[in-house]
Each structure stands twice: as C-alpha cells, then as structure tokens.
C-alpha cells in the first residue's frame, strides 16, 4: 500500500495502520539522527518523539511532498530542539564518521596521516553550527539532492547552497588553523 493510502486510512480512523509507517521509517529516522548527532542523543527517544509528532501532524500533511521528506523534516527539528535543550556542541567522539576508503593504496605512514586528517575533519564537523552541519550531513551522508535538503529544512535552494558552501569553507578554515 502506498504511503498516501495508508495516511488516508489512518485519518479515516484506522489508526492501527500507523504502525506500518513507523516500521517502514524508524530505521531511516535512527540513521539520520545518528549522522546528525552521533551518540549524543538517545536515538530511540528521538525516534519515538519523531513518530509521536508525526502522528499529531498527519492531518496537516497534504502530500505536496513525499512522506519521507516530511518525516526527515520532523527528525531534523526534533534533533535540533533536543540538542539546543541540552545546550552542548556535538563532540567528535560522538560523531562516528568512519572512512570507507580502502587503505590498500596507502602505506602505513600515509594511512596514519590520512586517519589523523579524517579525525580533524570529524572534530571540525562537530563544531559546525547546527544548520550547517544538518545541511552538510544530509548532502554528504544521506545522498540528498539540494532540492530534497531544501524540502527537509524548509528553506530555499539558495540557502541550502549557502549553508553547504559555508560549512565546507568553515571546515577548511578550521583545519588550516
């Protein structure tokens, strides 16, 4: 059954069907949360909040975008709210961006240098402003187009471009210091 049909049936009173939506999207929500804030927040707690908020917001959803984008939007908002509440910067240890590049083409020394630089980059990503980090994570790790990111972050395309540009510029600046 398509998302639209499920939502229509839920709104018509078949609320138990909501479990299907939760089942379909819960891991995606967890993945995005993890990429945005690592182990900084309780991923299950975030996921629960997202789906409870989604349930409340369902009647307002008009399918002008994909349900998945809507869910991602709620996820981004919930994560940012919870991070702000905790008032802490995401530390590098909490962001587990592992390098996926095979190391066969590097010798031991090169691998060490490479790993150090990856760690530096990780640190710097953690220090980015929330908006910039969100846009960068969605672009770099979630395979989102700029249009998708604009939809999730509820901002213009030019703002997305600007956020990603500034994120990369800030990363480069941080690393050079």
């Amino acid at each position: 059954m398509e998302d639209k049909q499920i939502v229509e049936r839920i709104l018509a009173g078949e609320t138990e069907l909501y479990a299907d939506i939760v089942r379909e999207y819960q891991q995606k929500v967890a993945n995005l949360t993890y990429k945005m804030c690592g182990s900084r927040l309780d991923i299950e707690e975030v996921s629960q909040r997202v789906f409870v908020e989604l349930y409340t917001a369902l009647p307002r959803f008009r399918f002008q975008s994909q349900l998945g984008s809507f869910i991602y939007r709620i996820t981004v908002n919930v994560v940012c709210k919870m991070l702000n509440k905790a008032k802490r910067v995401v530390s590098a240890d909490e962001l587990d961006y592992r390098s996926e590049r095979p190391s066969e083409d590097r010798n031991a020394e090169q691998q060490l240098i490479y790993q150090e630089r990856i760690n530096e980059l990780r640190d710097a990503i953690g220090r980015l402003k929330d908006e910039q980090r969100t846009a960068l994570v969605l672009c770099t790790f979630e395979d989102f187009s700029y249009n998708d990111i604009a939809e999730v972050m509820q901002c213009s395309l030019s703002k997305v471009e600007s956020l990603i540009f500034r994120a990369k510029k800030n990363l480069a600046k941080e690393i050079k210091q």
Partner: protein, 99 residues
C-alpha cells in the same frame, strides 16, 4: 554509514498514539462551514477588488520602443536554473574537497 543500533519503537509509539486523539482533519462540520463561508467571502472580495482595478485602469500609452525594451529585459532575465544534485560524498570525498 548507518546507525549501529537496530531501532524498534513500534510498540512504544503505538502505545502513546493510542492515548492521543488524532486531531481532526481540516475541522469539524462547523469549522468546515466557517471555512467555506469565509473562503467564499474572501474570494468575492478579491474578485470585486480586481474588477474595480480593471475598470479603473487606463491603458498606458506605450511606444513600440518601450515595449521592445520591456521584452528585451524579460528575455535578459535568467531563470535560476536547476542546481546540480549533490553527489554522494562519504567523508573521504569530503576530505578530498577540504584538503
């Protein structure tokens, strides 16, 4: 790079959801009626305003040259154009960009 934890919040979410009443879709019959009436009034007001403006507008005498300039300026305006989709970049490629 995926979350290392397999999340299963179906039961906990459904428990909370069962306690909530789903907010009504675009209102009850009363709200619907209010929306319908309100919407009709607003539409009528807009139409009236448009009619007043249309009837009150006097045609502006525009020379061929002015028209030509207007058309040229419209043609000069470049649309924003599609933005390239961001390529999938795991941190290694981001590393390549930054370094």
């Amino acid at each position: 790079m995926q979350c290392p934890v397999r999340v299963d919040v179906v039961d906990s979410v459904m428990e909370r959801v069962r306690q909530k009443e789903l907010p009504e879709v675009a209102g009850s019959s009363l709200t619907k009626r209010l929306f319908t009436w309100g919407g009709s009034l607003a539409a009528a007001a807009v139409v009236a305003l448009l009619l007043v403006n249309v009837l009150a507008v006097k045609p502006v005498a525009t020379s061929d040259q002015q028209l030509g300039e207007m058309i040229a300026s419209l043609q000069d305006f470049e649309s924003y154009g599609a933005v390239e989709d961001a390529a999938l970049e795991p941190i290694d490629f981001l590393y390549g960009e930054i370094y």
